[in-house]
């Protein structure tokens, strides 16, 4: 199969120079007559029927030796080769064949591909659509045959689509049924498209295949690029009314949804209605055909789902990931079976594009909508001209038009390549400029906000009067500056109401935040994803803000984006000089907890301030506060925080210390002393206290007594173990947090 790579158009011909006598040869004078050559191959070539001194000339490769038998070294690029042999009488014989195989990669090619990959990714992440219209032509400009450029491009994309679709499915944005139905019909389109490609390559060689791909590019880019530019100008003109556009169903989609063809109707969750699969099948097929031809199927898939079927934008682009994966994988396998995938090209592009995709996606949050579309349209039109300029070159090489002069060909080649570079550079500069400008402006605003928040914190501190004796144990116990972390889930409900109540009691300040995980592997989603998640999180935080205001509490809201949720929480806490972070509990226990980790556990492990963990149904009503001490300074910190809470809540304290059963005798006296010391401190603070020494496993004993005594808040210290240490040794506070039914305050400061 791999041999298909080399050669399809092999031929030979013998021509006369004008001044020489014509001669006719019926058999090829060359041996081998049909050489199968790959890049950098060395082969022996023989010629017969020539007289006197012979001059060999190769248009692309190299000739070693002289006489009737020479060594031919193929060039590093797959290309059409013409070997010309002239003898002493002026007789000329030519041998034409295709050099197949993979492109020889030099460092400069790798750098070029990496940069093109980066810019392609940047553009993709920014405009939310495949960068293939940049990547495929770029590979072709380097001398990669079209079929390999398309195959390698597909190969670098489909794993990203898989990871992306799994992630999106978790957020309920993927209509798997629609994705699979469209995916399967797209697969048929890919196979059909790929076989057309292979046939064209067999019939007309790489030139024919290049012409076909370039032609499709020009047509598609003209239509899509023109449409996008028009849209950008329209949005720009109505810039006053730019805002989050609601999902509107087009007239066409309404009609499609109203058509009832019995026996073909199927319900799709993303559309919320039944439609005939006779509509989805051709759409899928067209998406696949286009993907196999230029490696950009999303150009048809996403708009088709939105405008023809009536799916919401975010669901359409998330569902497109399933289609992209199914057809990308199928297409790559089909091309790989024929040996057309150059994995080096695919992986170098991947290296650059993954850096770009994420930066591009981040960039969209700093610019206006029309800017995104403008960049997309401009790049598309520039690439269109770049590809269009190559069409006459291919036509001339195929002999379809009058042969162009070498100068014309090289001018067209250079201009085409130059325009591609210009298109890439333009896109990259606009995006990076927008990103840097937006980022700096945002950073300035952040700094101002921070100054304001620090100033306010200082004012608060001056007004506050600490109970003098609180300083005797350790300088801790502030619970005024509260950070509520909400993830919109049910698990955060308890935390939300308790955070508001806590601020009410302490007369402090409340900030509410959500963290969105941003790590878009797949470009087609990036932009819409950030927008949609931002909007729904803001809406949720605004309801929290409203309930806070009803309770007479001012509340700032803030959304952060990051890879590690706990890091964002900690940074925000540090920035705002937070005293206590209030969080919900997901309720994972055992192995699941160990495997999945828990952001709450990570925050507890790393935070410098206190953390209040509130399970969904827990309420802090001030019935009784349990504080567990072990004689360490962490226990002291816990006791101090418990006193502070007891004063706010007017609640009694249940002071406990646990002696492990086997050490009971030995440790009893020691524990009594610990308890007495803390008990007297609490009494001195004027809080009612009851002390108990428990025996057994610390965490379980504490949870049990808390349940029996109607405790509604457990206060524990934390040794602050993190990482492996925490996994191996476990942590009493970790277990209490995992299993207790009431709220838990982990005192750290």
């Amino acid at each position: 199969m791999g041999l298909l790579l080399c050669l399809p158009t092999i031929g030979w011909s013998v021509a006369q120079e004008p001044q020489a006598q014509p001669s006719t040869l019926t058999n090829s004078p060359f041996e081998p007559a049909n050489p199968k050559v790959e890049t950098l191959d060395e082969i022996m070539l023989k010629i017969s029927g020539m007289t006197g001194d012979i001059v060999w000339k190769a248009s692309k490769g190299e000739i070693l030796g002289s006489g009737n038998e020479i060594t031919y070294i193929a060039p590093g690029k797959p290309d059409k080769e013409i070997i010309t042999v002239t003898d002493a009488t002026g007789k000329v014989a030519t041998l034409t064949f295709e050099v197949g195989g993979f492109l020889e990669l030099h460092l400069k090619d790798i750098l070029f591909l990496f940069i093109v990959g980066f810019i392609g990714g940047l553009v993709s992440g920014f405009i939310g659509s495949g960068g293939a219209f940049v990547l495929t032509p770029a590979m072709m400009s380097m001398g990669v045959p079209a079929i390999m450029a398309v195959a390698s491009n597909m190969c670098h994309k489909f794993p990203k689509a898989l990871v992306g679709s799994i992630k999106r499915a978790k957020y309920g944005q993927v209509d798997l049924k629609l994705g699979l139905i469209m995916g399967i019909s797209a697969e048929a389109g890919v196979l059909y498209g790929a076989s057309i490609q292979t046939q064209i390559k067999e019939a007309f060689g790489d030139v024919g295949s290049n012409l076909y791909v370039s032609f499709v590019f020009v047509v598609v880019l003209a239509i899509v690029g023109g449409y996008v530019l028009r849209d950008a100008i329209k949005i720009y003109k109505q810039s006053d009314s730019v805002g989050a556009k609601e999902h509107e169903i087009t007239k066409l989609a309404r009609w499609v949804q109203s058509v009832n063809i019995p026996g073909t109707m199927m319900y799709f969750p993303s559309l919320g209605t039944k439609i005939s699969v006779l509509f989805t099948i051709p759409l899928g097929f067209a998406t696949g055909m286009l993907a196999a031809t230029i490696a950009v199927g999303g150009f048809i898939g996403v708009p088709a789902m939105m405008y023809v079927l009536g799916a919401p934008g975010l669901m359409a682009s998330a569902t497109e990931l399933v289609i992209a994966f199914v057809m990308g994988m199928g297409g790559t396998i089909k091309y790989a079976l024929d040996g057309f995938v150059d994995i080096r090209l695919a992986m170098v592009i991947l290296a650059g594009s993954l850096f770009g995709v994420q930066l591009g996606a981040i960039g969209t949050t700093y610019v206006k909508d029309f800017m995104v579309k403008m960049v997309m349209g401009v790049i598309m039109i520039l690439v269109l001209f770049s590809r269009g300029l190559k069409v006459p070159v291919y036509l001339s090489e195929m002999g379809e038009i009058e042969p162009l002069s070498e100068t014309t060909i090289s001018i067209l080649n250079y201009t085409s390549f130059g325009m591609l570079i210009f298109a890439l550079a333009t896109g990259a500069i606009i995006i990076l400029y927008a990103l840097i400008k937006g980022y700096m402006k945002h950073a300035k605003e952040e700094a101002l906000a921070e100054e304001f928040s620090i100033a306010q914190a200082t004012t608060d501190e001056e007004v506050e009067t600490f109970p003098a004796s609180a300083i005797q144990l350790s300088p801790t116990g502030r619970l005024k500056n509260v950070l509520l972390v909400s993830d919109k889930s049910e698990a955060s409900r308890g935390a939300e109401s308790e955070a508001i109540k806590l601020v009410q009691r302490t007369d402090g300040r409340l900030s509410a935040m959500s963290v969105l995980m941003i790590n878009p592997e797949h470009e087609s989603l990036a932009r819409q994803l950030i927008e949609a998640e931002d909007n729904s999180s803001i809406a949720h935080l605004e309801t929290v803000q409203k309930s806070a205001e009803k309770a007479g509490v001012n509340c700032d809201i803030n959304i952060r984006h990051g890879i590690e949720i706990y890091q964002e929480i900690l940074e925000e806490a540090e920035r705002k000089q937070i005293d206590v972070i209030v969080m919900g509990r997901r309720g994972y226990t055992g192995l699941k907890r160990l495997m999945m980790g828990s952001n709450t556990a990570k925050v507890i492990g790393h935070a410098q301030c206190n953390i209040l963990v509130v399970p969904k149904f827990a309420k802090i009503e001030g019935k009784r506060i349990l504080v567990a001490v072990d004689g360490s300074r962490y226990g002291d910190i816990a006791a101090n925080a418990a006193v502070k809470m007891a004063k706010y809540l007017h609640a009694p304290i249940l002071l406990v210390s646990v002696v492990q059963s086997e050490l009971k005798e030995k440790r009893h006296i020691e524990t009594v002393e610990i308890i007495k010391r803390v008990e007297s401190f609490i009494k001195q603070e004027g809080v009612v206290v009851e002390a108990q020494i428990l025996s057994g496993r610390p965490a379980m004993s504490i949870i049990e007594i808390a349940e029996n005594k109607g405790v509604d808040l457990i206060v524990v210290g934390s040794h602050g173990r993190t990482g492996l240490d925490r996994i191996l040794m476990g942590s009493v506070s970790d277990r209490i947090i995992g299993y207790a039914q009431c709220a838990i305050l982990v005192a750290k400061a």
């Binding site: 790559t332 040996g339 994995i343 992986m347 993954l354 996606a361 790590n519 950030i530 890091q567 790393h606």
Partner: protein, 79 residues
């Protein structure tokens, strides 16, 4: 260990892993291309390479920008 150091170690290890993968691809590129060229069942070679690289390098790049502090614009509202 601070969170910043932790994040740094994680990012650097992912980066190293990614670099090792690329080095291996470069080192064995001739063998890999020979396999790819043969087509047939050898299609598994490029496909599995694509999956592994995508996963490792994708995780690395995400952490990379985050560590540099380049992140999506945060949204704020004052109460």
């Amino acid at each position: 260990m601070g969170t910043k150091t932790g994040a740094m170690i994680q990012t650097v290890s992912l980066g190293l892993l990614s670099a090792i993968l690329y080095f291996l691809l470069y080192y064995f590129n001739e063998t890999i291309l020979d396999w790819s060229k043969q087509g047939g069942w050898y299609f598994i070679v490029p496909i599995s390479i694509a999956f592994i690289f995508s996963l490792v390098h994708g995780t690395f790049t995400g952490h990379f920008w985050d560590l540099l502090g380049v992140k999506a614009k945060s949204v704020k509202k004052r109460g």
